[in-house]
Symmetry: C2
Subunit: 419 residues, 2 copies
Amino acid sequence: MTTVLKGNIVSATALGKLEITENGYMVLEDGVITGIHDRLPEAYAHAPLEDYGDCLILQSFADMHFHAPQYAMQGMGFDLPLLEWLEKYAFPTEARYLDIGFAREVYSRLAREMVQNGTTRMCVFSTLHRPATLVLMEELEKAGAVAYVGKVNMDRNSPDFLRETTEGAKTETLRWLDECSRFRNVKPMITPRFTPSCTDELMTFLGKLVQERNLPVQSHLSENRAEMNWVRRLHPDCQQYWETYAKFGLWTDRTLMAHCVWCDERERKAIREAGVTMVHCGASNNNILSGTAPVRQMLDEGIKVVLGNDVGAGDSLQGFDLVADSVRASKTKHVQDGWTTPFLTVAEGWYLGTTAGAEFFGAGKGFAVGDALHAIVLDDSRLLTPRDLTVQERFERSIYRRQNDAIRAVWSEGRKVVG
Amino acid sequence: MTTVLKGNIVSATALGKLEITENGYMVLEDGVITGIHDRLPEAYAHAPLEDYGDCLILQSFADMHFHAPQYAMQGMGFDLPLLEWLEKYAFPTEARYLDIGFAREVYSRLAREMVQNGTTRMCVFSTLHRPATLVLMEELEKAGAVAYVGKVNMDRNSPDFLRETTEGAKTETLRWLDECSRFRNVKPMITPRFTPSCTDELMTFLGKLVQERNLPVQSHLSENRAEMNWVRRLHPDCQQYWETYAKFGLWTDRTLMAHCVWCDERERKAIREAGVTMVHCGASNNNILSGTAPVRQMLDEGIKVVLGNDVGAGDSLQGFDLVADSVRASKTKHVQDGWTTPFLTVAEGWYLGTTAGAEFFGAGKGFAVGDALHAIVLDDSRLLTPRDLTVQERFERSIYRRQNDAIRAVWSEGRKVVG
């Protein structure tokens, strides 16, 4: 089945590079992009047309790190740093997801909100609860998202009300993996919360699973200095934090590591060489005082960098904020470094929040031929303008200029899921 | 006429201090607060009641620095630093306000948006155009705002299409001041754009006006290092930027100076001793790479600090963002200073964005007895929660957690202007 979309198409094909097709046509066959054209090729003259007029057709967002259960406490507790914030806010909130009804209420809203706001690909932490994790996956699938979701593993160093036994963690993880087979676009991801939360026995088990079943992994790395000191005390055999994942087989080219604020040259080298992806969470790093990640340096070194909103430590689920927050953090870094490190341009931040994350899901760069369509259609016509704006200017403005109800349609995995 | 408001009343009576009256009653006589009570005093048992149920009754915002004309380009040009950004985006946009129709369209929306989102007090830059400035004042008055508005003065160092003659600036300023007498809650404020934009002759004239008529002043100070070097070259007789205002009589206890990012000890002393108010614009300072203002230090030294969104260099007109951005900037500073300078708590940011600004307008601290009511009624009932939250927790969450359509009513100068 052929579909043609008409509008102003903006495709981020490389870091900082935009390919703009004004009043262009995008042709889909069964939801898969076959081409972008300045003029409609004769062959498609009679194909069904989604005419989006003067709207912007943008790539949808890929949000590569957040904690779904913390949606219920979004915006709370920002007077505290990481470890205290976990104890006082995050852990008690997560404990609530033993209650399946509560999980359903929160996750159905979260999933809808994410997709309606244009985030169609995501990597998500659930809680340690297997049933609630399945609810999250159901709701994401229903909303039309493509996602990796992790049942969180944590069998030490957390309060009694939010801790598994090592045996329980193993059994529940295996059972959960079996139950995931029923989902089409939502897949499991092995998720040790972070090194302090998992015994060596559990890490060994998870690493073996990853190796045997070729599963992707997500966790946290070098976010906060108190956390890093703690990890050092827990693993005196490891010189650096990353080794506490690597030694168990959790350090692969399908591994996501959130934050990486404090990674030095040696740790960055380990990331690059293993093909690990670094998830930058600019808003969170500011909110809970983690520091400022060396994103430009990592990009220059060839590390794969993607973005995550990190709700609840982040304060917004919006993809536009995800991008803007990466630019903001890079400007903070720029100033911290005495105006030397180049900040991220808006187009660069956009690439990180769209194409870079999509690549983790196997997609090509920008609106790539052969990929199922993931897109937002943005109607910015209600905004005032000082003069006629170019498509690029309208695109750039949309990142920082929050607009309610401006998303006219969302496409995910080749299907129109909103609009 | 007596009115009673019922709800959860949060009053910021000192920096970082909140007085919370749960399920409380606020009594107004002709719009003026006469008391806040835990229980309704018998005398008011039959007074008209605005029952806001479980809503939060919060102080409205005071936004003390922004450029109204730049609303039309909000969110644009954030890959450029100040001086280039002015040339490429801000000046051409401002030139459009020669067109009264355009001014009406932009300013009517801006004024409504500000008040509907809970900002009832503000200090605003217009453009150099007298007629458009009057349109802005009309629209703010109509929307119910209490404001100081400045016709901008600029007779040098800007493009031909946005520059006055010195004579023209004088004549138009005098005529504009005469025409302002018709407004009730919107008053004029003397506004040299910044030192580089005004000849000595014009500054002398403006300073005399300020002294003779006891008018308030707003301008920019020590925002950006390139700007400061420029000022130094223009005024070799002045050791520091502030002296270029002081020597003309523009440095008074009714003067607002935006930014003050780079004020050293000597300049801060001059600010404190004159009773000048520093307007901190956290988002703007990040967006156009100005640096990070030493807000905590200024507060500790006894300088009056208030907040401004600085649209178009800022990216949001929302009062909640105004407050959150001040906390974000303070956390950036905290990290820059090696985790030494205490960041602003949410309650402290809130105080700066409400009470501190209101004081410039002569108001007392928090919901003070004797003041006309300025308030927002916030209905946060649609948000999910992990447990029962205290009023203080709900208040704190509202700062970072953007909620569309949650403002149920806005009161300004004792009148309900929204809801």
